[in-house]
Symmetry: C2
Subunit: 130 residues, 2 copies
């Protein structure tokens, strides 16, 4: 019997046009390199990836959004380095994919997610907090 | 005959715990003041508002997310000032609500949206861009 496979709900959205200050501006864009490196490293179960042209976080490149459907918090991360952060990004995405609300306990988040979050966006379904 | 009214799809998500450097830390939180000021000024048609406790954009307070369903880009704005930006935020939200994809032409965006965008998140439905 074939197992039912759910489509990936968690999505890494990587800006492919992002530059970094430490990289040759004429060379391949660090954002595109990050997208390729994450893809080639192998995505965790339930996690998909896409490249987009701009996340308007240009001063914080490389940048990426981690999102996961209507019930999870979304996160925007910046200052990502394709040479340093690929394994931690994938570990963080795997932990996120195991939650229902996107809230991974602080100590279980990779340092890159703890320190380089630009913003988080609450899910629509969140009850109002006052 | 009663007209059919669509529920508001465009949402302003305002961080109510945001501080600003220029404000008494013991006084009411600027984020809560911004939420109240936007609400009292009168929301444009099709725009709703909610307060949340943190957008993780604490160094850029006051902060806010502008979102509008599965087909629109979402935007995170920062450095908002309840004393300066209420009318422009509401005008920008109204223009955003009139689009189907959230992309308001650059010149029609209020300056606060042009200059104080922290990030934008593409809709899920976006075709891949490479």
């Amino acid at each position: 019997m074939a197992e039912e496979t759910k489509p990936a709900e968690v999505l890494l959205t990587v800006c492919t046009t992002c530059r970094r200050a430490d990289v040759d501006p004429e060379g391949p864009r660090p954002g595109a390199i990050l997208l390729d490196a994450l893809t080639e490293a192998g995505l965790p179960e339930g996690v998909a990836i896409r490249g987009v042209e701009c996340l308007s976080a240009c001063t914080r490149g490389c940048s990426m959004v981690l999102s996961g459907g209507a019930d999870r918090y979304s996160y925007v991360y910046g200052d990502l380095d394709p040479a340093e952060h690929v394994a931690d990004i994938l570990a963080g995405a795997a932990a996120y994919a195991k939650t229902t609300d996107g809230l991974v306990p602080w100590r279980e988040r990779p340092v890159v997610f703890r320190k380089q979050s630009i913003a988080r966006i609450p899910p629509l379904a969140l009850p109002e907090q006052e």
